[in-house]
C-alpha cells in the first residue's frame, strides 16, 4: 500500500501538479489565440511575443514596486504588478491594431496575408522587447517559494517521496480559474460579449443588426492583451523569464487552440491541459515509479522514458499534425484550422 502511495506521490509531484500549472498557462495563451481567431479570423502568431511583452511589462512594474519598498511577503510582488503590466500590454495591442491590423481589416485582406502580417508583428515585438529589457534571463519571483515543501510533506505523511507545491503553481491555477470564469461570464451573459459571439458567428448578419465591428475588435484586443500578460507572467514566475522561449512557446499554445477547436473558448482550455499533460507524460522517466510498483526482480534498469525532455516541443508538434490530419476542426468542432 505504502508503495502505491509513494508511486502516486512521484506522479503527483512530477506530472499532475506541474501539468496543472503549465496547462493553465497554455490554456490562457490558447484562449487569447482563439479569441483573435474567432473575431478577426486569423492565426495570430505574434501571440507568444505578446505574452512576452506582457511579462516584461509586469517585470518592469514589479521592479518599480520593489524599489518603492512595496512587496507582498507571502506571494510574488508580480501579482500586484500584473494589472499595470496588462494595461500597458493592452495599450500596445490597441496601438498595433490601430497602425497595422485595422488597415488590413478594412481592406478585407485574406487570412493568409493577415497571418503573414502577424509574423511581421512577431519580429517587431520581439525586437522591441530585446531593446527594452535585453535578451537575458530575468528572475523576478519573490515572496514565499513554496506552499508545501517536499520535506514537510514527508514529515506529515511518513512517505519516502516528497510532494512540493510551489507558490507560483498554486497562484497560476487560482488566477486561471478566476480569469477564465470571468471571460466565460462576459461572453455568455453581457450584451457586448454576446455581440462578440454574434460577430464571430456571422459577420454580415452582425453588421445588419447594427453591431459595430470596430468596438468588437477593440474589446477582443483588450481581452487578448490581458490574457497574454497573465499567461506570460505566470509562465515567467513558474519557470524563469527568457525572452526567446516565447518563440517556442507559441507552438504548444497553437497546438492547444487547434486541438480544442480553434475559435472555441472551451476547446482552448481543454486543449491547453491535454497538451501540457501529454508533454509531461511522454517525457517523464518512470523508473522510480515502477521500482515501487514492481517486485525488485523485474523492476526496470533503464529510465523508462519515452522521449528525452529535449523533445518536449515535438510532442505538441506531433499532436498538432495528427489533429490537422484526422480532425482539423478539433475536439469541440471549432472553425476549420
Amino acid at each position: 500500500m505504502i508503495d502505491y502511495l509513494n508511486a502516486l506521490t512521484i506522479l503527483a509531484n512530477y506530472i499532475i501538479i506541474p501539468g496543472l500549472a503549465y496547462g493553465s498557462q497554455l490554456a490562457l495563451g490558447a484562449l487569447g489565440v482563439t479569441m483573435i481567431y474567432a473575431v478577426l479570423r486569423f492565426s495570430n502568431f505574434a501571440h507568444g511575443e505578446l505574452m512576452s511583452f506582457g511579462a516584461m511589462s509586469t517585470i518592469l512594474c514589479t521592479w518599480a514596486l520593489q524599489s518603492m519598498g512595496i512587496t507582498l511577503t507571502l506571494i510574488p510582488t508580480a501579482i500586484l504588478a500584473i494589472p499595470i503590466g496588462a494595461g500597458i500590454t493592452v495599450l500596445y495591442c490597441l496601438f498595433v491594431n490601430h497602425v497595422v491590423y485595422e488597415y488590413y481589416r478594412e481592406k478585407k485582406i485574406d487570412t493568409n496575408t493577415y497571418f503573414i502580417v502577424s509574423i511581421g508583428v512577431l519580429f517587431f515585438t520581439a525586437g522591441l522587447i530585446r531593446l527594452i529589457i535585453g535578451p537575458k534571463d530575468q528572475n523576478f519571483s519573490d515572496g514565499n517559494r513554496f506552499i508545501l515543501k517536499a520535506r514537510e510533506f514527508k514529515e506529515m505523511t511518513g512517505l519516502n517521496e516528497g510532494l512540493a507545491i510551489k507558490t507560483t503553481q498554486g497562484i497560476t491555477v487560482l488566477v486561471t480559474i478566476i480569469l477564465v470564469t470571468f471571460v466565460f461570464w462576459f461572453l455568455n451573459k453581457t450584451r457586448t460579449g454576446k455581440s462578440m459571439r454574434a460577430y464571430s458567428d456571422n459577420e454580415d448578419l452582425a453588421l445588419l443588426s447594427g453591431i459595430n465591428p470596430k468596438k468588437v475588435v477593440l474589446i477582443t484586443w483588450v481581452f487578448t492583451g490581458v490574457l497574454a500578460t497573465v499567461a506570460g507572467t505566470l509562465y515567467g514566475l513558474d519557470k524563469i523569464y527568457k525572452p526567446f522561449t516565447f518563440m517556442y512557446l507559441v507552438l504548444p499554445v497553437f497546438a492547444s487552440a487547434i486541438l480544442g477547436g480553434v475559435g472555441n473558448p472551451i476547446g482552448a482550455i481543454v486543449g491547453g491541459y491535454i497538451i501540457a499533460f501529454s508533454e509531461l507524460i511522454f517525457t517523464f522517466a518512470y523508473k522510480k515509479v515502477f521500482s515501487y510498483l514492481l517486485p525488485e526482480s523485474i523492476a526496470p534498469q533503464t529510465l523508462v522514458q519515452l522521449l528525452s525532455t529535449d523533445y518536449k516541443i515535438a510532442v505538441s508538434f506531433l499532436i498538432l499534425v495528427l489533429v490537422l490530419l484526422i480532425k482539423p476542426t478539433g475536439i469541440f468542432s471549432g472553425k476549420e484550422a
Binding site: R191, K194, S195, R197, A198, S200, D201, N202, D204, L205, A206, L207, L208, S209, G210, I211
Partner: protein, 234 residues
C-alpha cells in the same frame, strides 16, 4: 407614392447592370411579392433597396424619406428590416440571444417586443434556450424573421423566406407573414413559389431581366394568361 418605394432603380456588379429601370413598392399593412425566373434580379433588387448595393440611378423612399445615402445599419434605424436568404441566423447563439442581437441597436426595454415575437412564433418560446443551428429549417426561418422583427420595423423585407422548407411549413410561414402584415407592417418579399406567394400578395411584381414586366394585384397576375403561361407553368 407608396410607403416603401424603389423607383427606377438601375444597379449591378461591375459594369453589368442587373437592374434596368426597376420600380418596386409596398404600402403599410400590405404584402408585395416579387416573382420571376432565376437571374431576373429579384435578390439584387432587395439588396439595392436595403443599401447593400449602390444604385447607379433611381431612388429609394421610406415614408417619403430618401434613403439613398444611408448604410444598411442606418436604414434599420429608419424602420427597415431585412431577412437575407441564407445565413440569416446566428447558428451558435441560442434563439433568445438571436432575438437580443436583432435588437442590438435599441437602447430601450426589448422585453415587450420579444414577448410579441414569442406570441407570434410560439415554438421559439419553447426553444428559446436552444442553439439556433440545431433547429429545423422552418424553425430557423422563424428565428430569422423574429430577429428582424426585434427592431419593430415599419418595412420588413424577406428574401425567399420559404427556400428549402416543406410545403406544410411554407403555408405556416405565409400565415405568419400575413399576421405580421395585419399589424401594419409593410412586407416586401421575393419568392420562388410564385403561385402560392401571389395568392397572399396585395401587389405582385413579375421581374424579367431586371425590370418589373408586370405589376398588378396578386389575384390579377394569377389570372393573367400571359403571366400564367410564361411564369406559372400554365
Amino acid at each position: 407614392m407608396s410607403f416603401l418605394i424603389g423607383e427606377n432603380m438601375v444597379a449591378g456588379y461591375g459594369g453589368e447592370n442587373i437592374l434596368n429601370n426597376c420600380t418596386i413598392g409596398v404600402e403599410e399593412g400590405e404584402i408585395a411579392v416579387v416573382v420571376g425566373p432565376n437571374g431576373a434580379g429579384k435578390s439584387t433588387a432587395m439588396k439595392a433597396i436595403f443599401g447593400m448595393l449602390d444604385l447607379k440611378k433611381g431612388a429609394i423612399f421610406v415614408d417619403g424619406e430618401n434613403m439613398a445615402r444611408l448604410k444598411p445599419q442606418e436604414r434599420v434605424l429608419k424602420g427597415m428590416g431585412f431577412v437575407p436568404q441564407s445565413n440569416n441566423v446566428f447558428t451558435s447563439l441560442t434563439v433568445q440571444e438571436n432575438l437580443e442581437m436583432g435588437a442590438f441597436i435599441r437602447n430601450d426595454d426589448i422585453n415587450d417586443t420579444m414577448g410579441q415575437v414569442y406570441d407570434l412564433f410560439s415554438v421559439l418560446k419553447e426553444k428559446r434556450y436552444q442553439i439556433a443551428g440545431e433547429l429545423s429549417g422552418g424553425q430557423r426561418q422563424q428565428v430569422a424573421v423574429g430577429r428582424a422583427l426585434m427592431t419593430r420595423p415599419k418595412v420588413l423585407m424577406l428574401d425567399e423566406p420559404t427556400a428549402g422548407v416543406s410545403p406544410m411549413v411554407m403555408d405556416e410561414l405565409f400565415d405568419k407573414i400575413i399576421e405580421i402584415a395585419d399589424t401594419g407592417v409593410a412586407i416586401l418579399m421575393v419568392e420562388q413559389n410564385a403561385r402560392q406567394a401571389l395568392g397572399i400578395a396585395d401587389t405582385g411584381f413579375v421581374m424579367v431581366q431586371g425590370e418589373n414586366k408586370y405589376t398588378d394585384t396578386g389575384k390579377s397576375l394569377l389570372a393573367n394568361p400571359e403571366v400564367r403561361k410564361a411564369f406559372l407553368g400554365g
